[in-house]
Assembly symmetry: C2
DNA sequence: CAGTTGACGGAATTTGAAAAATCGTCATAT
DNA sequence: ATATGACGATTTTTCAAATTCCGTCAACTG
């Protein structure tokens, strides 16, 4: 039999263990809230010693940041998947719809973006700054891409559209906090309609160009995913 | 000389004193935050005894609620004034612009709507329920009025527009919390443009009808102001 | 006597120090 | 080489004493 000593020299098993830890941490986080989940709980839940958890993340805060980071990654991946499957998804209003649902259907992200302090703990302000910046740049690149192809309204600066879009999007996200559990798809449609009429041009676009834009957007998201993964130490998908 | 004994049997002087108390309370609230302002501070600031403050409001919470109520009233009055001066202001996007500025230019309302707990104190959740309901009804009536005159987009229920409009409006409001101090007018324009394209019809309307709608809206707001004033015990304007 | 006041009792909040819990390390174990 | 849990240090919680503050009301004023 393989000696247990070198079991985890294998990066594969190491990643699997990291994933298990994150699973446990995410579960406890949702059920008890940030403040009440201890490193001992997480270690016990994962069936390993506490020291082993610290072989993966240097601090408690980094562990929980990684939980959120993985959730963000997963949402972005869903977005990318949607884009690959249907090039139409690169149109801003479809994009908004898919992204909205990707967020509100993930309880941790809902808690994060509604700034639920019970779920968030001290992860509120400081962290993710690097990532947030990157995502901001990505959003601008994406909008610039749409603008280049005449997919955005004329007579508005890209920055203006960016500001207004973000305000609108986050408005619908926050409204979701007070809204009933059901009817999410309908509210996503409402957001999509609002975004389409407010920010998109009425010009139609050839299927070929649409595919190009979608592909470029996939690349944009891919780069972002790579950067995020590199930073947060979650090697593979 | 008039005996000072019956000085304040006069409702006029009574109202003036109430206003002075509210002025002091508002000032202290902005400078020190809800938690740190005591009834003794307010009384001292107004140059009267604490007992006298309690002749106007039964509890501390009611006093500070009245501070906010007066601010809301003032914003609504500004809105009504704008409508009287320019009937165009009844169009949803102008309405949004004026209302947005009326709120963000009032520090107390900014603090209230951005849910700044420093400013809000325990006035967060519970109170204003009656008023909030009334304002909700008013908003629906206003939108129904616009819909009747073909001033809203076709193909959407009034409730849908109401939901989407509120989400958008509050999104811009919240974005204002993170935005720099300057450029408020520009951001108000951005909101107006967004609302116009998303929720208004392109149909033009006769000046006469516009005046009618504006007048009806003025009435709507007037009723609301009366109801609010009656409830919060602030008799005159 | 209508109108006002500030001292007062009780409730709520703050303070501070001791007790408990948790973090992150590291010597030991495999 | 890898994993662990006992351990010191730090943070959080607890709890009671001390303080602050709310709301009342007997006394006061003109």
């Amino acid at each position: 039999m393989s000696t247990s000593a070198d079991r985890l020299r294998d990066p594969r098993q190491r990643a699997e263990r990291a994933a298990r830890i994150l699973d446990v941490a995410a579960d406890l986080l949702l059920r008890h809230g940030y403040r009440r989940v201890t490193m001992d709980d997480v270690a016990a839940g994962a069936g390993i010693g506490k020291g082993t958890v610290y072989l993966h993340w240097k601090t408690r805060e980094q562990l929980f940041s990684a939980v959120f980071a993985r959730e963000v990654l997963s949402a972005m991946d869903e977005l990318r998947q949607a884009l690959r499957q249907d090039p139409q998804a690169c149109l801003l209003h479809h994009f908004a719809r898919v992204y909205f649902l990707a967020i509100v259907n993930r309880p941790l992200l809902r808690g994060f973006l509604l700034e639920d302090p019970e779920v968030l703990g001290k992860l509120a302000g400081s962290p993710g700054t690097a990532r947030d910046d990157r995502h901001g740049v990505m959003a601008r690149d994406y909008l610039a891409l749409l603008a280049e192809h005449g997919l955005l309204r004329d007579g508005m600066e890209v920055d203006e559209i960016g500001y207004a879009f973000q305000a609108t999007f986050e408005g619908f996200l926050r409204a979701e906090g007070a809204a009933p559990a059901g009817g999410r798809e309908e509210r996503a449609d409402l957001l999509a309609g609002t975004v389409r009429r407010a920010f998109e041009s009425e010009a139609t676009i050839s299927d070929a160009t649409l595919r190009d834009v979608a592909a470029a957007t996939v690349t944009l998201i891919g780069d972002l995913l790579d950067a995020d993964r590199t930073e947060s130490g979650l090697p593979e998908a």
